[in-house]
C-alpha cells in the first residue's frame, strides 16, 4: 500500500537528514519558495481537502485563511504535540521515525501564513521525539533550509521546541497558549479566536503534528493526488491510525482515510487476539462514543463516523473484547477526565467527580435504574462547561447509555458486575 508519512521509515531507527533529502525531502519547500506565492500554497492546501488530524477535523487551509493579512506585529504558528489523550500515540511514532516532514511542513505553513517564528509544543515523556526534532532543526538550519533568508528567498523562519511537564489540558489550543506563555494552562474564552488574538495577543494558528507533516507531500504532488490516496471519493488523504487493546497486532498504521473499521481490525491488526471476540471500541481516542459490531462497515472518515454517532477524533482505536465490562471501561475513562480537569469551571470540576461516583456505584453493584436517567442528564449538563474537555469526557458515557444500557441494568439487577465471575 502507498505510504505518505511513513514512506521514509527505516526499520528500527530514525531516517537521516541525508536519506530524507535523497528520497525527495525538502523539494516541496524549494518548489514553494522558488515558484509559489503564500496564497498559492494556502490554496493548494485548501484544494487538497486536508482536515486537521488533532481531533476536531477542521479544514487546515481554511484555518490558515482566517489569519488577517495585514495586521502589524508578530504572528505565530504552534504545532500541537501534546498527545496525552489515552489511546493516542501516532505523533510519537511518526516523530521517532522521521522528524523532517514536520520541520518542512511547519516551514511551508509559516510561509503560507506569514509567520516567522513557530513553536512545537511537545509533551513530557516524548524526549526521544523532542531530541529528533532538535537535531532536525539544527541540520535544516545548517543547510540553509531554516533560519534567516531561507534558500535566498528573503523568507525567515525559526522553530523552537517546548517540552511540557505533563497535563492533558495543555493540548486544548487556548490552554496550550497559556502554557507556552508560562502561565497556568487554563483554557481561554473564545472569541477572540486564536487566528485573531492568540499567543502573546498575536494572530496564531494551532495545528496538529500529523496535519503539518502532510503539507510537504501535498505541495510536492498536488491536491488531486492527495485526495486520491483515500479509500472513498469523499475522504482526502491517509491517516495514522493507532490501535491498542485486544487485537493481535496493536500498532500504528498509515491507512487510507475512509477504510472500513472491520477492515482495519481484521487486516493490519490481525483480528482479535486468539480466544477473544470483538465487543466494542473507542473509534478515535478516549473522548469518542463507542462503536460496536454494528459499526463494522463504517468508513473511518470524519463525516461517516460522525453520522454513525461518534467522532473520528485522533484515530486512536481502542479495542475491547467480549470479556470487558463496559461500565468499568467507562469508569476508567471518566476518572481520567476528572483527574485531568483543570478546575477552572464548575460543571467540569464538580460534575465529573459526581459522574465517577455514579459509575462506581453502578459498577460495584450498588446502583439502581434511576441512575441511568441521572447519567443521561449529566451528558446534557456537561455541555455547559467552559471547554471541550468535559463534553469529551461524556462521550464514552453517551456511548455506554446508547449501546450498553442493558449491561448497566444487569449490574443493577444482579447486585454485582456480570463480567466478573
Amino acid at each position: 500500500m502507498e505510504q505518505i508519512l511513513f514512506q521514509h521509515n527505516k526499520p528500527g531507527r530514525c531516517v537521516t537528514f541525508a536519506e530524507y533529502q535523497t528520497e525527495g525531502g525538502f523539494t516541496a519547500l524549494k518548489k514553494a519558495l522558488a515558484a509559489m506565492t503564500p496564497d498559492e500554497v494556502q490554496q493548494v492546501v485548501i484544494d487538497s481537502g486536508l482536515r486537521g488530524r488533532g481531533g476536531a477535523g477542521f479544514p487546515t487551509g481554511k484555518k490558515w485563511s482566517f489569519v488577517p493579512r495585514n495586521l502589524p506585529g508578530p504572528r505565530w504558528l504552534i504545532c500541537n504535540c501534546d498527545e496525552m489523550e489515552p489511546g493516542t500515540y501516532k505523533d510519537r511514532i511518526l516523530l521517532e521515525a522521521n522528524p523532517y516532514s514536520l520541520i518542512e511542513g511547519i516551514t511551508l505553513a509559516c510561509y503560507a501564513i506569514g509567520v516567522r517564528h513557530a513553536f512545537i509544543f511537545i509533551r513530557r515523556g516524548y524526549e526521544q521525539a523532542a531530541a529528533n526534532l532538535q537535531r532536525a532543526i539544527s541540520e535544516a538550519a545548517a543547510a540553509g533550509l531554516l533560519g534567516e533568508n531561507i534558500l535566498g528567498s528573503g523568507f525567515d523562519c525559526a522553530i523552537d521546541v517546548h517540552v511540557s511537564a505533563g497535563r492533558y489540558i495543555c493540548g486544548e489550543e487556548t490552554a496550550l497558549m497559556n502554557a507556552l506563555e508560562g502561565k497556568r494552562a487554563n483554557p481561554r474564552a473564545k472569541p477572540p479566536f486564536p487566528a485573531i488574538k492568540g499567543l502573546w495577543g498575536g494572530p496564531t494558528v494551532v495545528n496538529n503534528v500529523e496535519s503539518l507533516a502532510n503539507i510537504p507531500y501535498i505541495i510536492a504532488n498536488g491536491p488531486a493526488w492527495f485526495k486520491a490516496t483515500a479509500a472513498t471519493p469523499e475522504a482526502a488523504g491517509m491517516k495514522l491510525f493507532c490501535i491498542s487493546g485486544h487485537v493481535t497486532h496493536p500498532a500504528c498504521f498509515e491507512l487510507p482515510l475512509g477504510m472500513k473499521l472491520g477492515d482495519i481490525i481484521g487486516g493490519p491488526c490481525g483480528g482479535m487476539r486468539p480466544g477473544s471476540s470483538f465487543k466494542a471500541c473507542l473509534p478515535g481516542g478516549a473522548s469518542t462514543p463507542y462503536f460496536t459490531a454494528d459499526h463494522w462497515n463504517i468508513p473511518m472518515d470524519f463525516d461517516p463516523v460522525a453520522k454513525a454517532g461518534s467522532r473520528l477524533g485522533t484515530g486512536g482505536i481502542v479495542v475491547f473484547d467480549h470479556k470487558t465490562c463496559m461500565v468499568a471501561a467507562t469508569l476508567n475513562l471518566v476518572r481520567f477526565y476528572a483527574r485531568e480537569s483543570c478546575g477552572w469551571c464548575t460543571p467540569c470540576r464538580e460534575g465529573l467527580p459526581f459522574v465517577v461516583n455514579l459509575l462506581e456505584t453502578i459498577e460495584s453493584g450498588q446502583g439502581s435504574d434511576e441512575h441511568i436517567e441521572i447519567l443521561r442528564e449529566h451528558i446534557k449538563y456537561l455541555n455547559y462547561a467552559f471547554c471541550a474537555l468535559a463534553p469529551g469526557a461524556m462521550g464514552p458515557v453517551d456511548g455506554l447509555l446508547r449501546h450498553f444500557e442493558d449491561e448497566i441494568r444487569e449490574h443493577n439487577r444482579n447486585g454485582k458486575c456480570p463480567c466478573r465471575s
Binding site: E85, Y89, Y126, A165, G182, K183, S244, C252, V318, N332
Partner: protein, 158 residues
Amino acid sequence: MIPETMRQELQDRISSAITNREAAVDVMKALQTHYGWLTDEAVVEAAGLLGLSPLQVEELATFYEMIYRRPVGRYVIHVCDSISCWSMGGESLLRQIAGLLKVTVGATTPDGLFTLLPCCCLGNCGQAPAMMIGNSIYGGVTSLEKATDILHQHRRNT
C-alpha cells in the same frame, strides 16, 4: 543554593525567551533535576530567576504531573492507568510493583530509591501496559519477571 554555572545557564535560557516566564517550565525542571524534587527553596529561586512571585511559581508547579512538590525517591516509577493499559492489565502491574517494592501507591521505599505513582497515558498504548522511569518508557510489562528486571536494572545503576 544552585551552583553559579547553573544559574548562568538558566539566566541565558530566560534571556533567549520571548518573555521571562516562557522559560518557567524549563527552569522548574532544571531545579527539580538538581534537588531531586522542586523544594521550597527551589520555588523561591525559580521565582527570583523568572521575575515572578513564589506563589506564581507554585501555581505552575502544582499544575503539572511531572513536577514534584514533595520529596520523591531517586527514581519515580510512573505506571500508566489510562484506558489501553487498563484493558491490558495495568491495574495488576501497579499492584505487582507495589508488592515488589513493599510500598503503597504514592509512597517511597525506605532506602529512598523508588517512588511509585500512577500516571496518565504515556503515549505507548500499543505496547500496554506501560510505565516510565526517568526518561525511559517501558512497554508490554505483562509479567512479574519483566517488572522485576526493570527494577533491578535501576538498583544496579546506583
